[in-house]
Symmetry: C3
Subunit: 139 residues, 3 copies
């Protein structure tokens, strides 16, 4: 049984920038050369999240619209009254989306659907450099 921890480094634009990281995860998975086990994707930080979507511009747009209903950019945020970074909206969206995703793999392939991509969501209100943790446990 092997445990392999890697990171993906990406630049984001912020403001709920939804980035397809499937290719980077797949590349690390290929390098790990494991047959079956569990892949965990984790965002270290309180203003980002991870999920899966069919990555096309319409879905990306629709997700942003839905999050705008739950945590609007222009709403009042208590966080902003105490801290100068003004990114209360990012903290709320990240808390609700959560930072982890678990993807089993077997037969040397991640168990993703054909139209299912892994996305990092950067909710912060400014461009960021991000390190996303990708871990493989398996044989």
């Amino acid at each position: 049984m092997d445990i392999i921890n890697k990171t993906i480094e990406i630049s984001t634009k912020g403001e709920t920038d939804i980035v397809d990281i499937t290719g980077e995860v797949q590349k690390l998975f290929d390098q790990a050369a494991l047959n079956k086990g569990l892949c965990t994707v984790f965002v270290p930080g309180a203003t980002g999240g991870v999920s899966t979507i069919e990555f096309e511009p319409g879905v990306v747009r629709d997700i942003k619209d839905a999050l705008e209903k739950v945590a609007p950019r222009e709403a009042f945020y208590s966080h902003n009254t105490k801290w100068g970074d003004g990114n209360g909206v990012a903290h709320v969206r990240a808390a609700l989306m959560k930072p982890s995703l678990s993807i089993p793999f077997s037969g040397g392939a991640l168990s993703l659907g054909t139209w299912q991509q892994i996305v990092f969501m950067d909710f912060d209100t400014r461009p960021r450099q991000r390190s996303i943790v990708v871990q493989f446990i398996g044989v």
Copy 2:
């Protein structure tokens, strides 16, 4: 340490069909005959999700009502303008609910609460045949 990957095959009605899969997961867990470790439930596909609820008709109804607030069935979805399947609502709900769930087990039992069932949520707008991935890592 064993890694066991299985699938559950189910038929769903779509339109946020919330299906109790606890019995099927428990059956696979019993067959795996493991004592302690981690169970991962994963939905391969971008229009379904997995969570836990007290499975009774009232809660099921209430969850549908809450999702209707965040991603209403009759809203405008950009996804629908480009793709003919008209299931933008399903993509948004699935992205927010996410496709994975992790359940530790020990003493030969899943760590679920007494009134806590594992549910697959099919957000697609039509009936579907679904394969849900269930993985056990443990001893």
Copy 3:
């Protein structure tokens, strides 16, 4: 490879009480004395959730406000018409937030960001005694 299952016992106030459990998880992690692997935090029960946030009173307030939009405390819940506990709101919030969180670790440290704390969210409408499951798989 070791698998270590522990529980954290906490008292909560209910009504979306958001409790920082990072210290307790870290203490169990230190006792486990593992170098690399996966930490899973799991809520056994259908009225609680787990996520990560920058734990400060403003963010806590803002998350409660966002959940109030999706599942208001004073809304109608079908669950409440059948069951006497009147906590339909808690069931919906828990279903949406989900009960599990996965945190990789390596180099003897959890992969949390500097301003990222692990929180248990008790959505029930009354004070509760809670056991949170914390599992470490690793070497």
